[in-house]
């Protein structure tokens, strides 16, 4: 009987022991190879944001510089920073983190796994004005890039500050709308949001859960990488001149951009124009007249990110991209509203000591600066590249930030830029 029982249950037992060993052991179980790191740096896959293992492996080396942003990263044309860095063998490579739908809150939570790597390092952060809409981050989009591992990382490092409470509150709000939470985690988040301390047993359970999630991440997240983007990059490498000469690069830009924006008067890439705009063009006229990026919960979510950079003493270059001027005129997007946004976000940055700002926002009318309506391309990427390269190659500064929790308040989120001066007077 013993033999027969072993024949039946033996494989199950062995498999269970191996699996439990893999998932709960305190050891790291999978080495991330340089090939995976390279792929991950441009893959833009959601599982890179969801996991820790690949990001940690890559960002442990200053060779990879974290680039936080959103959908602009998927615009791989010849001057895209990942293309330029590879072609001219820069001393660093961008590690792109962000895709359509990633906003401040996603970045705040995905940073929780890489605080150690961000410490005293450099980073680039592209701020999209389009994030700062009235309703703020979309719960569906947020949940697409969110993982329990991010929540567990957050719970382990929080110690009940205003930032922690606000972050827990925002996370609960997002989860409430997508109901994909975990009972234990949500309970702990509620306690943090209410300013309570987590009990020793909760902390222990969280750390066991963390082991399980971390090993799952180590085992599987490198399997789901797509390498389509590397193919795009390889194609673009051909379009660049072999020497990194400004004149030749500008010529190459004009050659590619002219050819790819031939079917419309907006300077928008042909494929984008014919797929997304052409048929509905009439509908878009004046459509964005009432768009407002000046009052949004996103300002407070952005403050979470700033606080995290401050805690990690990361030296950050913030980039504010423009909007395609011809398109903005057509769609009726208000210039004064955009100026207001610019003023407000810059105040939030500068007043807290974030002084590295590459403000490209007034260059939306330059030729071939944008690839479509709102995303950088060609000349825009080239301007971006120069700022970014100078920043990364420059001296590492030890930043001194003066954080101000007032930026979490509703009164800041909803402040009209016209009232900024009186706000400064009252709060300064």
């Amino acid at each position: 009987m013993g033999k027969k029982l072993w024949m039946i249950f033996g494989p199950l037992l062995v498999a269970s022991v191996v699996l439990i060993g893999l998932l709960f052991s305190p050891f790291k179980i999978n080495r991330i190879s340089p090939t995976i790191e390279k792929q991950a740096a441009t893959s833009l896959s959601p599982n890179i944001l969801k996991g820790d293992a690949v990001k940690r492996a890559a960002l442990s080396d200053p060779y990879y510089v974290p680039f936080f942003g959103s959908s602009e990263f998927s615009r791989f044309d010849l001057t895209h920073p990942s293309v330029m860095a590879e072609k001219y063998n820069w001393d660093f490579r961008p590690f792109l983190m962000g895709a359509a739908g990633t906003q401040s809150l996603t970045h705040y939570f995905q940073m929780q796994g890489i605080n150690h790597q961000l410490k005293n390092g450099k980073a680039v952060f592209v701020i999209s004005p389009q994030w700062f809409v009235k309703k703020g981050a979309n719960p569906q989009a947020f949940s697409f890039y969110f993982s329990q591992l991010q929540a567990v990382n957050f719970l382990q490092k929080q110690h009940g500050t205003r930032t922690d409470r606000y972050a827990a509150h925002r996370l609960l709000k997002m989860e409430q709308n997508t109901d994909n939470g975990n009972g234990m985690i949500n309970k702990a988040l509620r306690q943090v949001a209410q300013g309570q301390k987590l009990s020793a047993s909760t902390q222990r359970n969280i750390s066991y859960y963390k082991r399980l999630l971390a090993h799952e991440d180590q085992l599987f997240s490198s399997l789901k990488l797509k390498d389509d983007n590397q193919k795009k990059i390889n194609r673009q490498l051909q379009a660049l001149p072999n020497s990194e000469s400004g004149d030749l690069i500008r010529q190459a830009i004009i050659k590619q951009a002219k050819q790819q924006t031939s079917n419309n008067d907006f300077g928008i890439k042909n494929s984008f124009y014919s797929h997304r705009l052409k048929d509905k063009l009439g509908k878009f006229k004046g459509f964005e007249r009432n768009y407002d990026y000046t009052k949004s919960p996103e300002f407070a979510d952005f403050q979470l990110v700033l606080n995290q950079f401050a805690a990690d003493k990361t030296d950050v270059l913030f980039v504010i991209p423009p909007i395609n001027q011809k398109w903005a005129n057509y769609a009726g997007l208000s210039q004064s509203m955009l100026k207001g946004f610019n003023k407000k976000i810059k105040y939030q940055l500068k007043s807290q000591g974030f002084d590295h700002i590459a403000d490209l926002s007034n260059q939306g009318s330059q030729p071939y600066f944008m690839q479509d309506t709102i995303h950088l391309g060609w000349n825009g990427w080239y301007a971006f590249d120069k700022k970014v390269k100078a920043f990364v190659d420059g001296e590492q500064e030890i930043p001194s930030y003066k954080m101000n929790n007032q930026f979490y308040a509703k009164s800041w989120q909803n402040l009209a830029p016209d009232d900024l001066n009186s706000y400064i007077k009252n709060n300064g």
Partner: protein
């Protein structure tokens, strides 16, 4: 309190594995620990119907008490007399909670408070017991055992539907060691096959592919490739989800030394629609065959309602399948689904008969067999498209 839907979560399987160790060891040594089995059953029923679902738990307990009293009273009566009207009333009473649960949403738009997950499967078991008492084949009815039969936790929420006498035979004996070892081997195999079905294939079809084809299909209201996609994807999803679930229920019973009957037997390789119903959701179609179809045919013949035995059979097919449609729910697409299958069975009988009478006109070879499988499969997928209710969303919402 912790609450888990049966067979949906790794923790549920882990708990099953631990709880079953004493049962398995006991049976291997020829012993059933009745009280322990009872405790495990209560524990797992609480796990499914307790905590946030306590209202369903209360409804379940109320339902069980009601049915046990009803069937026991009928048993007492049947020992003395055998009037048909009493039998009819007993059956009607036995199905009355199910009827209330099915009709309440139509009347008030909200689910009934006496409903719980699995009420229809338990109703089948109760009705069948009443009928066998009436037939006189179930002579030693025991209320306490009947309760355990009804509340047998592995199959409580979605079948398979076992039979009182078959269940008792297994329950009252202990399988010998060699047989039980074979059962264990099968059980573990079923569990892992179930994992493949429910957590891989049903996930692939239901969670990954179905939303994509549905999205394609709603771009237009008529025939589209998207709609064809919905038809096949939904059919595979339905099969793998339900067959996976049934495998878990059968495997769990095997661990307890009970050979709960299988529910699916490779239904998509049926050569005709009658064969399909002998392979698809078998315990349900056999239940309908034995307790609706046969009895209706017998009733019609006895009272000579239709002259022709073929007419009797045909009308009964349609009535039988219509009733099955109504049982699924009071929605047009369930009823149409039942109707189509009823008519299909009639046509199927006519065709097989025609073929039998004219062996020279209709060749029978490997090719015609594959053709038959192909036609049956596509027909069945089409009826599942109706069943899915997707057409309702597409056309009327």
């Amino acid at each position: 309190m912790l609450s888990l839907t049966p067979y949906e979560n790794p923790m549920y399987f882990g708990m099953l594995a631990v709880a079953f160790i004493p049962i398995v060891v006991g049976i291997l040594w020829g012993k059933r620990f009745r009280w322990y089995e009872l405790l495990v059953s209560i524990g797992f029923i609480l796990l499914s119907f307790g905590g946030p679902k306590w209202e369903q738990g209360v409804a379940l307990v109320g339902f069980l008490i009601f049915e046990v009293i009803l069937v026991s009273l009928y048993n007492v009566y049947r020992k003395k007399k055998n009037d048909t009207w009493v039998f009819v009333i007993a059956v009607l009473l036995a199905i009355s909670p199910l009827v209330v649960v099915k009709l309440t949403p139509l009347m008030s738009g909200t689910p009934s408070i006496i409903g719980f997950l699995g009420i229809s499967y338990l109703t089948f078991k109760a009705v069948q017991t009443v009928m066998e008492i009436r037939d006189g084949v179930l002579k030693d009815y025991n209320p306490w055992f009947f309760l355990q039969f009804m509340a047998f936790f592995p199959s409580i929420s979605s079948g398979p539907i076992d039979r009182y006498r078959r269940f008792r035979k297994d329950y009252e004996s202990v399988p010998d060691r060699e047989k039980y070892l074979n059962m264990l081997e099968k059980a573990l195999h079923y569990v892992f096959l179930g994992f493949v079905y429910k957590f891989m294939l049903a996930y692939l079809f239901g969670t990954i592919l179905l939303p994509k084809v549905q999205h394609l299909a709603v771009q237009s209201t008529g025939l589209s490739w998207g709609l064809v996609g919905v038809m096949y994807v939904y059919s595979f999803y339905l099969f793998f989800d339900f067959a996976g679930y049934s495998l878990f229920a059968v495997a769990t019973s095997y661990f307890m030394g009970i050979e709960t009957p299988m529910n699916f037997n490779q239904p998509f390789k049926s050569k005709n629609i009658k064969e399909f119903w002998n392979r698809w959701h078998m315990t349900l179609s056999f239940w309908f065959r034995d307790y609706v179809y046969m009895r209706l045919v017998f009733f019609f013949m006895k009272h000579k309602i239709f002259k022709n035995p073929k007419t009797t059979a045909n009308i009964t097919y349609v009535l039988n399948m219509l009733l099955m449609g109504f049982w699924h729910g009071e929605k047009w697409y369930y009823i149409v689904y039942g109707l189509i299958h009823g008519v299909a069975l009639v046509i199927n009988d006519w065709w097989l008969n025609l073929k039998k009478k004219n062996p020279d006109r209709f060749p029978h070879n490997k090719f015609t067999e594959y053709l038959a499988i192909f036609i049956t499969f596509n027909f069945v997928c089409f009826t599942f498209l109706v069943f899915s209710g997707f057409l309702d969303t597409l056309w009327f919402h």
